[in-house]
Symmetry: C2
DNA sequence: TCAAGATTGATGCAGCTGCATTAAGTAAGT
DNA sequence: ACTTACTTAATGCAGCTGCATCAATCTTGA
């Protein structure tokens, strides 16, 4: 008798859930121990720092990070509270606004990349050859959205965008 | 110049985060649309139903599911509130207790497996050959904890245990 | 036997998430 | 110009998570 989801598919599902959870936890813990805020903050700061003149519309940020609207709204709140970004009014569209990264925001992003990249190396890089990492990318890509070109996406700094 | 985490490792990291998130979301949505509770409930009910005489110590459940103690405690609260499990006192150790699955609990677990297995098939099985699923398992296993034998773990019903 | 330490489970608090709704502004058709 | 529909962003509410702590009980070793 043939199973509907094969045992192989089910095993892959279990591993995908467990391993991601363990690796994410490990990386987040490393960042936290180094005294840094959560990864989502890094992602947002990275997107902002990459934007021309360091500012974006919240809607843009939302699309880049693939997180819901309300989540973006509150993340911006927190960044603004900590002085890492500022809200600016948008004169073209009075509903909207711009979010601009501040100098402390840029500095934090750079400092975090040090700890973040070390964590990626520790929990992924050191455990997989480059060739195997590519194989893993290929298999994962078949499961979901294309995440853009392998080489291009990680060209400068990596952002997860959960 | 060599990067500390290679672009390949970074790309794998990004995909691991994104793809897991998308696939989990998709599966959870399918379950929710079918009117079922979250996956964590299923995991707990499955563990309980597998236990001899359908009861376990919370500590056991905690170890099986790999979730923190307080999380287990509250999950049991919710199952008990919904009549899917009952707490029983433990006479050997008066600090402790037993949690026993109820008949409605067993029924729900079985019904959920229908929707759950369909979702795994839809989001994993249909996108990967069995051989590729095994390759994926192998690569993921190198990143983390061993999750037991591929064939054995998914023998009857699959549990993620985030 | 009894004090020190470990184990078991619950809970108050803060933060984050999703859902639904609201408010305000823009765009488009009539 | 005016109604209708869409877009942009914020927010109240409920639920879940992690952290720290607590209370109760068990275990160990002097």
């Amino acid at each position: 008798m043939k199973r509907k989801p094969s045992t192989e598919a089910t095993a892959a599902w279990i591993r995908l859930m467990r391993v991601q959870s363990r690796v994410l936890d490990a990386v987040e813990q490393d960042l936290k121990k180094a005294g840094f805020p959560p990864l989502a903050w890094y992602d947002a700061l990275l997107e902002l720092s990459r934007a021309p003149s360091g500012e974006m519309r919240p809607v843009e940020l939302e699309k880049q990070m693939l997180i819901p609207q309300y989540s973006t709204s509150r993340l911006i709140d927190r960044l603004v509270d900590e002085g890492l970004a500022v809200r600016r009014e948008c004169k073209m569209d009075k509903r909207g606004q711009f979010v601009e990264i501040t100098e402390p925001g840029r500095e934090l992003q750079k400092k975090m990349w040090g700890a973040y990249s070390a964590a990626i190396e520790k929990h992924i890089g050191s455990k997989l050859s480059d060739a195997d990492a590519l194989k893993l990318c290929g298999l994962l890509d078949r499961l979901g959205c294309s995440c853009g070109d392998v080489k291009a996406a990680a060209a400068k700094e990596g952002a997860p965008a959960r």
